[in-house]
């Protein structure tokens, strides 16, 4: 009897709270006034946050209707999860940084409000300055949905001290000898491992789980995980089989790449080469060894380059979406883009100059910026994403685990990957 009453009460409460949740999100925006903007970010770096606050203060000074702009750091590991929880709870931020691997989910779902109009109409924005390569991932039906505030090329770092200690040529010597290709790297890496016990080459952040980082390798074989429409699985293509055969041999036969369950940190001097984003160069001054920076090595299909990106979007559900878009236009205008360039390589063609980037990356030489960074950004391809990225990523990861054993049948395992992931791709 009591419990029946209780259940009724529970039902009532539940209904009310849903109703309220619905009301809160559908309140129409009248004249904007006392606007409080919130942007979720995944950096907790004080210098970066100070710069953001600085830009925000300037904006507020010119826009009395905006009362405050707060930047809210969420932890990087569960960034998308936490953001999604906030959206689910009806507490979406007004603006959000978007991780590259979740880009398609956010862009395609309608979660983000289009920003192209606002950007184009903003005085002095120079919208056409944004490079096509940088904006490709962030468009829907030819319209820009989110602003790519960071476009960071993948490069190869080399530990010249370790190479010399193993009696191997330095990175520059390898390149001069025409051996700057994956086979050459793997040979040298195997020799380093044999001579010193340290690792040959490491695909950073792969760790035999985040498989999409391997795109920086398989692109050299001309392989793609799925067709352009995203509907057909290409993991079992001959190119992909060759690329994975190379990786499997490197890990299990030549020992030029640390095997599963073994990590080696390049920046702690434990490996001769590493593939990673240019932005990691900032930790090199502390590492205490002679290093070099080169483009990604050639694959059987020749030269290629890849970039990692991050975007800023305006959440469509926010009450103040128009104001938020206007702030984004200010945040990413030429002047502020230049300031942000010290951490985030810009999408603006005019700012891809040795001068701008050298000021931003004091540890890199002008040569390295001119020969590696700028071409990398200009020609770099974004790794292939997919909608439903988390589910696709997890399914592929689970299926790919079959490859990472010494006696794996690579072709068979990759067919297994396609079997597992194909039902998701068609959606």
């Amino acid at each position: 009897m009591r419990s029946a009453k209780m259940l009724t009460a529970v039902g009532l409460l539940a209904g009310t709270s849903l109703l309220l949740a619905g009301c809160a999100s559908s309140t129409p925006a009248a004249e904007p006034k006392n606007v409080e903007l919130r942007m979720t970010v995944w950096t907790a770096n004080e210098d970066q946050l100070a710069l953001f606050d600085d830009i925000a203060d300037q904006y507020i000074a010119e826009h009395p209707e905006v009362k405050s702009i707060t930047f809210e750091p969420l932890p990087f590991e569960d960034y998308t999860t936490t953001l999604t929880t906030q959206v689910a709870g009806g507490k979406a931020p007004d603006l959000a940084w978007i991780l590259e691997n979740a880009a398609l989910d956010f862009v395609d779902s309608g979660a983000l409000a289009p920003i192209q109009d606002t950007l184009e109409k903003t005085d002095g924005y120079e919208f056409d300055d944004l490079s096509d390569a940088a904006t490709a991932l962030w468009q829907k039906d030819g319209e820009l949905i989110a602003y790519p505030f960071s476009t960071s090329p993948f490069v190869m770092f080399a530990n010249d001290d370790l190479l010399r200690a193993a009696g191997q040529p330095t990175a520059a010597e390898l390149q001069a000898a025409g051996k700057w290709n994956w086979e050459g790297i793997s040979e040298v890496g195997a020799a380093v491992n044999a001579a010193t016990g340290k690792a040959g080459f490491v695909v950073r952040d792969f760790d035999y789980t985040s498989w999409d980082n391997l795109a920086s390798v398989w692109m050299g074989w001309g392989a793609e995980p799925w067709g352009d429409d995203g509907a057909s699985c290409e993991f079992d293509s001959p190119e992909m089989v060759d690329a994975f055969t190379f990786l499997h041999e490197a890990a299990f036969d030549k020992k030029s790449m640390p095997g599963p369950g073994t990590t080696a940190d390049f920046f702690a001097g434990e490996s001769a080469f590493t593939v990673t984003q240019i932005s990691r160069a900032s930790v090199l001054p502390d590492s205490g060894f002679a290093w070099d920076l080169l483009p990604l090595p050639e694959g059987p299909e020749g030269e290629y380059s890849m970039v990692g990106q991050a975007g800023i979007g305006v959440m469509a559900t926010g009450k103040n979406a128009p104001v938020a878009a206007d702030f984004l236009a200010f945040f990413s205008n030429p002047e502020n883009s230049k300031k942000l360039a010290q951490w985030f390589p810009p999408a603006r063609t005019s700012q891809l100059s040795t001068e701008t980037l050298a000021a931003a990356n004091p540890v890199l030489s002008a040569d390295q910026i001119e020969n590696v960074v700028i071409p990398g950004i200009e020609t770099g391809v974004v790794r292939p994403g997919h909608t439903d990225s988390a589910k696709v990523g997890q399914t592929v990861r689970a299926a790919l685990d079959a490859i990472w054993t010494p006696d794996a049948d690579i072709e068979e395992s990759l067919i297994g990957v396609c079997d597992a992931v194909e039902p998701l791709l068609g959606k």
Binding site: G110, G261, T263, Q394, W404
Partner: protein, 313 residues
């Protein structure tokens, strides 16, 4: 303070021509309701209401990003029944929980018996075994992740005794073993302290008497000590088994449910579906399943307590 309880009586009797004053029993019952009110209302607001919402969500397809929320009837439940991953996930969950509870309880008991004496330095050792309980879970798990690498500390130690250790986190069976080990060492200290406390409550006279009667240490332990601390064992059993079904951060850090899906326990699967894949509808169904399992297990254990437990007041 006392007015709280006395006032209803006063009011009732002061009413002109009023009803009978509350009887002793009624007054007592009223006090009972008032005493439990904060807890019961809190549970209603922060557990039952959310639970009702979860049930409500489970009949809907909820796409958070696209901001759509559609009624789909029992589709999510049908999906659960047809989901080919459910069977392996359930098996994994069962193995994980049984292993965890078994090792946690036996190790805690062993440690408690060993440390239940007043020797010099015993406090120091108690503290050592308890220390993981206060260390941040994330830091603890990350460190163990390094120790369990193929060339990590665990295999290094095994090599010293001539054993070629497995690639712990990369092979199905050993990954599960590793996850259990990490979790056991993290929490066994708490159960150890509970058992220590229970052991110190065992009257020495009883053990002395048994010794007089010629009982050996093993007999004393199984016949006298165990029955006397059985209520504590039951309580820790329930807490540990319920806790084992809620372990997910460790799995997220150590194995992400892999290799394959060999360490994907139900709560991690739930977390994946709801928070990583944004499938809140299906995640709600999995939540309800998890809740039901815990509920049934607890009720069964509670019913069994009369068999297991030596005495209860």
């Amino acid at each position: 303070m006392t007015t709280l309880i006395k006032s209803p009586v006063g009011r009732a009797s002061a009413r002109p021509g009023g009803r009978r004053p509350l009887t002793h029993l009624q007054r007592d019952a009223l006090a009972g309701y008032l005493f439990v009110a904060p807890q019961v209302l809190g549970i209603a607001a922060f557990v039952l209401v959310p639970l009702a919402l979860v049930i409500y969500f489970s009949f809907h397809e909820w796409n958070v990003l696209a901001n759509t929320f559609t009624f789909v009837g029992v589709a999510n439940f049908e999906r659960f029944l047809a989901d080919p991953q459910v069977a392996p996930v359930m098996r994994t969950t069962g193995i994980f929980s049984v292993a965890l509870v078994f090792f946690n309880i036996s190790l805690a008991l062993l440690l408690a018996v060993m440390l239940n004496r007043s020797l010099a330095g015993i406090t120091f050792f108690r503290t050592l075994f308890f220390s993981p309980v206060v260390v941040s879970l994330v830091a603890w798990t990350i460190v163990w992740g390094f120790l369990f690498q193929d060339n990590g500390g665990v295999n290094g130690a095994l090599e010293l005794v001539g054993v070629d250790g497995p690639n712990w986190l990369r092979e199905g069976p050993t990954a599960m073993v590793a996850v259990v080990i990490v979790q056991v060492f993290k929490n066994v200290g708490l159960n150890m302290v509970l058992f220590l406390a229970a052991l110190q409550g065992v009257p020495q006279e009883l053990q002395e008497a048994a010794r007089m009667d010629g009982a050996g240490p093993r007999t004393i332990f199984t016949r006298i000590v165990m029955p006397l601390i059985s209520p504590t064992i039951l309580l820790t059993f329930i807490i540990t088994i319920v806790g084992s079904l809620q372990v997910f951060a460790q799995i997220a850090v150590l194995t992400q449910g892999g290799p394959g899906i060999s360490t994907t326990v139900l709560v991690y699967y739930l977390f994946q579906q709801a928070f990583l894949f944004g499938e809140f509808g299906y995640g709600s169904v999995l939540s309800l399943v998890l809740f039901l399992i815990v509920l049934v297990l607890t009720v069964v254990q509670w019913q069994l307590r009369k068999k297991w437990v030596f005495y209860e007041n």
